[in-house]
């Protein structure tokens, strides 16, 4: 492991910890601003959306199998399946697509 990687990890861990720790140590009252509350409420969804698309299309090394996996995930998630079911079905669908693509070639 290089020194640069260790510094990356230290920065990640340090910032993440401070973000969690400082409010618990310093503040003893709730945030009242509706704008701030709403912003923080939307952050996880914005992050996950931005990180998933388009990155997911390069996650399997083949855009077609990735698209098949993503489509499967969307359908199951839409019908409210649990995290693990959605994730494994997406992987399964992508795997089957990889196999079929292998045969076609």
């Amino acid at each position: 492991m290089t020194a640069r990687l260790l510094i990356y990890i230290a920065v990640m861990a340090g910032v993440t910890y401070l973000v969690r720790m400082i409010p618990m140590m310093v503040f003893r009252r709730k945030i009242r601003s509706q704008f701030v509350q709403s912003f923080l409420y939307y952050v996880p969804y914005a992050v996950l959306g931005a990180m998933t698309i388009p990155a997911v299309f390069y996650a399997t090394g083949n855009i077609v199998s990735a698209a098949v996996g993503l489509a499967a995930a969307f359908v199951l998630a839409f019908f409210g399946q649990s995290l693990i079911v959605v994730a494994l079905t997406a992987s399964g669908a992508a795997f089957i697509a990889e196999l079929i693509l292998g045969w076609i070639k």
Binding site: L5, M12, R28, V36, Y42, G49, A50, A55, T60, I84
Partner: protein, 241 residues
């Protein structure tokens, strides 16, 4: 430990079991993604043991893989994990009198979406022994799942590994799709974030923007627009992940 303290601790342990099982599977995906980005098993597990957060860790991998700057890493972690501030703030109101500054320092490390949701769902104030129990198993599950995923990533056949590389994105989809179905604000926010992310990736004008900063820009843009046009009511700040 006295009888009451032990009961509190094990009550926390019990509440942490379902969270730990969920983390075991999510972090499995993270482990695979980490080694496919060139990290060692040890580095992947070290990240999970010190960070305990999914979105932030995947964004961190993106920055590491693209050899991004340290400022970029710090700002990305700050923006993506900023929601924990709200949760810490909210939970700080619910800690019982037994909480010393030292136990606050320790408990704040374990604030995640799920742990926050369970702790704040308790009818009474939470004790430090309860929090210690609640955080323990999910932390172990998160580290163990990362180890198993990273190890599997090194021995599994190429096609299977490729297919499992999509697992973590499947989990992300499983979080934002149901939420977007229920709330128009979330739907709009996700659409804006995805559109912005595609623009930054494919429009040559933006090719100078690193991937970590791209995530930050998309997140802030989409969440600000959501907060302006679809403000949420008070007390809805904590979200499921």
């Amino acid at each position: 430990m006295s009888q009451a303290r032990r009961r509190e601790f094990f009550s926390g342990i019990k509440d942490g079991i379902p969270i730990a099982l969920g983390y075991l599977s999510v972090s499995f995906g993270f482990g695979i993604t980490a080694v496919s980005n060139g990290l060692t098993i040890f580095a992947a597990v070290l990240i999970s043991m010190t960070n305990l957060t999914s979105a932030g860790q995947v964004a961190g991998l993106t920055v590491i893989a693209s050899n991004g700057g340290m400022i970029e890493m710090a700002v990305a972690q700050f923006v993506i994990n900023l929601r924990y501030s709200l949760m810490s703030l909210s939970l700080s109101q619910k800690l019982d009198k037994g909480f010393t500054p030292l136990s606050r320092l320790a408990a704040s490390f374990g604030i995640t979406d799920e742990i926050f949701a369970v702790a704040s769902g308790r009818s009474s104030d939470v004790s430090k022994h309860y929090m210690a129990g609640l955080i323990s198993l999910p932390w172990v599950g998160w580290a163990l799942g990362t180890f198993l995923g990273a190890a599997a990533g090194q021995i599994l056949p190429e096609k299977l590994k490729a297919a499992l590389g999509i697992a973590i994105y499947g989990m992300f989809v499983a979080i934002f799709v149901p939420a977007a179905r229920k709330a128009i604000g979330v739907l709009i926010v996700v659409i804006i974030a995805v559109t912005a992310s595609c623009c930054l990736k494919y429009i040559p004008l933006f090719s100078g923007i690193s991937e970590g900063f791209a995530i930050i820009i998309c997140t802030v843009l989409a969440a600000v627009i959501g907060a302006i046009f679809f403000p949420v009511k008070q007390e809805e700040g904590g979200t499921e992940e």
